[in-house]
């Protein structure tokens, strides 16, 4: 589904602040793969996601999605088939617009006809939005006319997830999307993620700082350090892996101790 061929990205090239954020990263994700990514701060996890979504173009290498070369495709064109959730729940929704309007925007992806520009939200669509919202069990289906700014962080993130998957994306990128939520809400959003991804067999990449999640969720675990993927495990080998093994792997591969409190604390 997703193929990265030796992509590199250097920020501030030629200055003292030069930072090689991605260093010849290659990755092959099969259809329906759900891979978790761990790594310390600055390992290049978010940069990898931003390269895939097209926030910037990579310096070298190629990106293929479902067989198409999207390396130099514009961000808004890619986002038709890529779902992206940020750590900050405020980033995924427009606060001054109603729940219904936000969902209508997400649903724009479905319509490719140009005449759709001047169409309004139809009653049929409203009904569909309502049904989808009711699946969240958050009572949002009765608040569709309220601005999203009134919702809690967890509710907003759940809504964002719903919006990102409303039209099934080719790939879903989750950038620590539960990290800013309180534990019980995080669990709820995670459960929702698990359900939606499994039901529709969405190919998914998920950054997490939680080692337990990294091994528990999905079918594959990647570890990044210094702009490279240093460890890639799946199948039976992965099922035998414990959190301590994973930490040791990190030490072996990166050649240093984990410098990230959040990873150590979330064991």
């Amino acid at each position: 589904m997703l193929t990265l061929k030796k992509i590199s990205k250097t920020f501030n090239a030629g200055t003292v602040n030069e930072k090689k954020a991605l260093n010849k990263v290659s990755l092959e994700l099969a259809d329906g793969d759900f891979a978790t990514i761990v790594g310390s701060n600055g390992a290049g996890k978010s940069t990898l996601f931003n390269a895939i979504t097209g926030l910037f173009y990579v310096d070298e290498g190629q990106i293929f999605l479902a067989g198409e070369d999207i390396t130099y495709r514009k961000e808004h064109v890619r986002s038709k088939v890529i779902g992206h959730l940020f750590q900050d729940p405020l980033k995924g929704t427009a606060p001054h617009m109603t729940i219904e309007e936000n969902m209508a925007l997400a649903y724009l992806r479905a319509s490719t006809a140009s005449h759709a520009y001047f169409s309004r939200i139809s009653g049929k669509e409203k009904q569909m939005f309502r049904e989808q919202l009711s699946l969240l069990n958050m009572g949002l289906e009765d608040r569709m006319k309220q601005p999203v700014g009134l919702l809690s962080g967890g509710q907003r993130q759940a809504l964002t997830l719903l919006m990102a998957t409303m039209v099934t994306p080719r790939i879903l990128l989750l950038d620590e999307h539960t990290a800013a939520l309180d534990p019980s809400t995080a669990e709820k959003v995670l459960e929702l993620t698990r359900r939606i991804v499994a039901e529709r067999r969405i190919t998914c990449l998920m950054v997490t700082h939680n080692m337990h999640q990294a091994l528990e969720l999905g079918n594959r675990t990647l570890m990044m350090d210094g702009g490279s993927i240093v460890f890639d495990v799946q199948g039976e080998e992965r099922s035998r892996l414990t959190i301590d093994d994973l930490l040791k792997q990190f030490q072996d591969n990166a050649g240093k101790q984990l410098d990230n409190d959040r990873i150590l604390l979330s064991r």
């Binding site: 808004h76 980033k91 427009a94 617009m97 925007l105 724009l108 992806r109 520009y117 919006m163």
Partner: protein, 315 residues
Amino acid sequence: MGSIFTLSIVQSALELGCIYSLVALALFISFSILNIADLSTDGCFTLGCSVGAVVTISGHPFLAFPAAMAAGVCSGYVTAFLQTKMGVPSILAGIIVNTGLYTVNIAVMDFSSNVNLFGCDTIFGMAKEVSDASWYGDWYKIAIVAAIVLIIGVILAWFLNTRLGLSIRATGDNEYMVKASSINPVFTITVGLCVANSLTALSGAILAQYQKSCDINLGTGMVTIALASLIIGETLIGKGGMFKRVTGVILGSCLYRFIVAVALRMSVPAECLKLVSALIVAFAIAFPYLKGKASFYRSRRMAVVDDGEEGEDRC
């Protein structure tokens, strides 16, 4: 107080309020919705006025409006092009276009600083001949401008609820979300600014026929006046659906004209009006901040009384 509002003052406040409300609606799109301070408003207003005047003089009073709007669209497109394709910061893009428009406007008026429309057919002149009734003579101007504003207001509110309108609103509300929703912000900003500037220019063209003249300095300070109307309207009506907000902006514009009329009646010299508008805008924008500050000082004082010495430490 009754003497402050004579009938003619009410009439002219409503007429001007309706005409200028189109500029306020333009800023509603660019400032409130797209979150862009479009400083080309002054020049664009004069552009609409001069194009409207010239087309009217050539004998096409109705064509004057679409012509002015088309000119406004061009002006908005240039502003949008500079900021989306050329990397010019949005405020600077507006200022640059505003400066350039001065020459364009002079050129439109055949390199004179003003033109007058006396003896030309205007929509106001034509409407006046429809009836001889005395009440009609008093109210026909208001009827025309109110009808235009009503039509524009309904179309605008409808437009902002279409998918394209939603995309434009989202562009100013959350740029991350917009890009993640397959919306092209370059396109939405361009459309938004084109629509906004077409309204500004339309307002100018109506004013040209209304006062039967056009002057190169007519637009000076227009952005401040429109901002004052917009902020008065938004403070008055508050948040809500698009129809409600558009109505608020139009009411705000009329209310602003009443404030100006009152100021004039209280013998504020006409030359000082721009200062009055500047003060109104400064106060209206500062008001929410000052309100927050005031409540902070109030709670600070309360804290000292309630908690004794501990309360002071907290400050």
